[in-house]
Symmetry: C2
Subunit: 375 residues, 2 copies
């Protein structure tokens, strides 16, 4: 099976030259199975007007008289005519399609973090009359410059980049070529790219406030990739607040959890080995928090009895894990929706530079408690 499957795959790949079935150029008869496609020309004929008139009727051009409007619309309904958007886009220069570029992580599509962003983007795109095309930024994809091809070959009018960071040099390609692109929930202070982000700094402030107020002094940070600006923001706030409070926070108190459950678990091991007396874990996202929490229990610590854990993102499931996770709520849906609005504005040429920061708030649940009585 693996072999025959590979064969089939190969055979199916869209070769540039794919005859498919016989097609011929015999006008458009009744298509295989589909209802006979009716074009604007036929509508025009039946309504005894020109195609230009039909086009203008469809576009509510005020130069068309009420009478003609109605006459043409009646024929349109009667014939069940639907304008072909390929022809429309070819002519009008707008595709009304936006691409969402996801990072090439194995579970990017099933990651609630990206899912919420995507959900906001899609909902708003739909309201604005745009379609969403999904792409994954795999190495091959970028090497073959498919990200540029999307624009150059007129697949899309604009693009969202999710999960990008400083290592992704290609984000500059878009602005260099003048293609509308918007970074969703990350940003590049030095690059002057459009973005919409949640306010990571204020979120981190709230986490530190609550942990310190609960009396914690041994607070460790499990952070995501430091090549993400938002992750650096969190680190900065953590460090500043710890220093303000006169607490120890050298690099031995932080570990990279690569934004995954596994990474969070591994990071927890590092930290607990270095600092067995750790009393609170601040994780840069919920997945790492979950991994850390799991590992804590694995190593015989109770949460929050022995160690408090705080996450970041507030993905939905975190209300249902045991114990439910205290976390910073990021308005990811709203970030996505707003990003979509702004990108569309940009495409329409109505906006110069876009940068927005949406408020966050802490959600207190059961994974945090007052520091155990070790005074």
């Amino acid at each position: 099976m693996p072999d025959s499957q590979a064969d089939m795959l190969n055979e199916l790949v869209a070769k540039p030259d794919t005859p498919g079935q016989v097609r011929g150029r015999q006008g458009n008869g009744s298509r295989a199975g589909g209802a006979r496609r009716v074009s604007m020309r036929e509508v025009a004929q039946q309504a005894s007007v020109s195609v230009a008139t039909v086009s203008m009727v469809l576009n509510d051009n005020p130069r068309i008289s009420k009478a003609t409007q109605i006459k043409v619309r009646r024929i349109i309904d009667k014939l069940g005519y639907r304008p072909n958007r390929l022809a429309q886009s070819l002519s009008s220069q707008y595709t009304r399609v936006l691409a969402v570029l996801l990072p090439p992580l194995r579970h990017a599509f099933s990651d609630p973090y990206f899912g919420e962003l995507l959900s906001g983007i899609c909902d708003r795109a739909d309201k604005l009359g745009h379609k969403i095309m999904l792409e994954s930024a795999k190495p091959d994809f970028l090497r073959e410059r498919k990200h540029m091809e999307l624009f150059e070959r007129r697949f899309v009018d604009g693009m969202f980049c999710l999960g990008v960071n400083d290592r992704h040099h290609w984000v500059r390609d878009f602005s260099d070529a003048g293609f509308p692109m918007l970074c969703v929930n990350n940003y590049f202070p030095e690059l002057n790219l459009d973005y919409v982000v949640a306010d990571y700094r204020s979120g981190a402030e709230q986490v530190m406030n609550v942990l310190l107020q609960l009396g914690h002094k041994q607070i460790a940070l499990i952070n995501g990739a430091p090549e993400a600006q938002t992750a650096r923001d969190v680190l900065e706030v953590y460090t500043a607040r710890m220093q303000d409070a006169g607490l120890e926070c050298d690099t031995s108190w932080t570990a990279d959890g690569r934004f995954t459950e596994e990474g969070g678990a591994a990071a927890l091991n590092e930290i607990i080995d270095r600092h067995p007396d750790v009393s609170a874990i601040f994780a840069g996202n919920d997945k790492m928090a979950l991994g850390a929490m799991h590992q804590l229990v694995e190593r015989g610590r109770r949460v929050p009895g022995d160690v408090s854990v705080v996450g970041f993102d507030d993905i939905q499931q975190m209300a249902f894990v045991n114990p439910s996770l205290t976390t910073v709520h990021l308005p990811l849906y709203e970030v996505g929706a707003r990003a979509c609005e702004l990108l569309v504005q940009r495409i329409r040429g109505k906006t110069e530079n876009v940068a927005e920061r949406l408020a966050t708030h802490l959600v207190l649940r059961d994974s945090t408690s007052i520091v155990p009585g070790r005074r």
Copy 2:
């Protein structure tokens, strides 16, 4: 802000008649910011051949001589020409775009179940040279027959439906109109639609086997919507196995968890109120299992000490919850990938009817144990 935001939204909605900026018909000069777009005509001129020749070069038509090949390709590279796929599709009748229709659930996009399917679909689509367009089957969407419009207006060549069930009468629209559609991980025995599913029956058999072998006798089923055929399959297997074992399994032992964490929690409450002696919970998906597990702990039962819990789907996070969840692994990624292959085959007209069932297997983790010593 809510008001001004609504205004802006309204203003941005793509009206049929959107002048945008001035556009005019002045050929294609240097586009705003973008590199000057070069068309096939220009390539042909520079290479002193006809556009047809250029087209044939691009499509590797064997009738083109090696010399012309090279000459034309050189010009193509020099000018940085990229074929306009709107024109290609308009002419060739293939869009090479597939739509994925997701159910209109609030968290559909962030649901790892759909995410895995989507991931498989997208990966394979990419390999096969196809793009993926995302749609959400909201009531409005269906009422306005946008699902048909996708085909009629030539947005896509084919469509995947995820999360559909018997109540979704519109699934018939596609086959009625002869549009290629494929149901992913659900099926309609009486409808003769194409589908690819995981083998729910065999998965359920494995769950029942392990629970019975562990000595459980009070086994409850928290099932998803009974309007899904796969959910009915699970129910049937549950009932059959319980009866085989001479155990009680009337409807008081099952509850509808609507496939959500909240639903799972609510269903658990029903069951535990009716049967305080329940010793094992079989949930129709992992989310319900998680909700049930959370609620069990909430109500003072230990998992698996007092009650064992088994899920279904094997979404990634379930390895990291406490306790980690025993569950049936569905090859969702593979289901998606295979679905994509078959849909593409269908579009190419190479296949008549498609129906495939992929194997599942049980993953034993920490949420199940031998029945507590109450003999």
